[in-house]
Symmetry: C2
Subunit: 147 residues, 2 copies
């Protein structure tokens, strides 16, 4: 796993009326501070890539649907420089919290038959100034999103 | 509207790949502190009622599906004591943040054809000690959830 990336299994407590799905508490060792909570919906087969935050740490989960996250480390001082991690998170299989620290490239793809919902509880509010983008076909990142 | 309850319209920014859905930022006048973010799924037609938090302020939204929230004020010192508010929130119609302060009775019902997802960004982590429950048919609360 890329240095600084954490995947933590999360609990779901179900009954006949529905379920409760954990995400993040202030007493979690993964929590530092609250900046913003928001959602991204990604349609079946759609890709959002690549992005990199200079400052923001993201805490992501997928409470509905299923999403493939791809993370690439090109930080020159990282022990995992050059590594690429792929992780799929969803409400039915592998319901997890994914922590992505700043300065890592990442992208994601909806891999459920329905639109998938990603929740992000970030340590700072969204700011376009600290967010970088690269083309989906950028040759510097060794992952192909397919057709 | 019941004293202390706030309903704030939220933005959704859509493109062909999906959308981004706002929820809550640290610079919002509605935000005080972060305690926990978690989800409740409520199946079509299912009811979860009644609950009351002694201390927790909830910030709720519905990023998938549609939910009817019913809130009842029996606080003896409230200017809206005796009032009952009904509000429906969903991802397609009336995407809003709903702030429910402590000491109000509330319940909710899934009113979409699919399971609905409620997100709660609360000012304290969940604790069973500060949460009270009453029967769905409690006669002290003048609202019938139907069959």
């Amino acid at each position: 796993m890329i240095e600084g990336v954490v995947v933590q299994p999360l609990r779901q407590i179900a009954d006949e009326r529905g379920k409760v799905m954990h995400m993040l508490r202030e007493d979690s060792p993964l929590f530092s501070r609250f900046g913003e909570v928001y959602f991204s919906v990604v349609n079946p087969g759609a890709v959002k890539a690549w992005k990199r935050h200079k400052l923001m740490t993201q805490h992501l989960t997928v409470p509905s649907g299923s999403v493939r996250f791809v993370i690439h480390d090109d930080r020159p001082d990282s022990p995992t420089q050059g590594h690429t991690d792929i992780i799929e998170i969803g409400d039915e299989d592998n319901y997890c919290l994914l922590k992505i620290p700043p300065m890592l490239w990442y992208g994601f793809k909806g891999v459920a038959a329905i639109p998938s919902l990603i929740a992000n509880c970030a340590d700072m509010a969204h700011s376009p100034e600290e967010c970088e983008r690269a083309e989906m076909l950028d040759n510097c990142i060794p992952y192909s999103w397919g057709a």
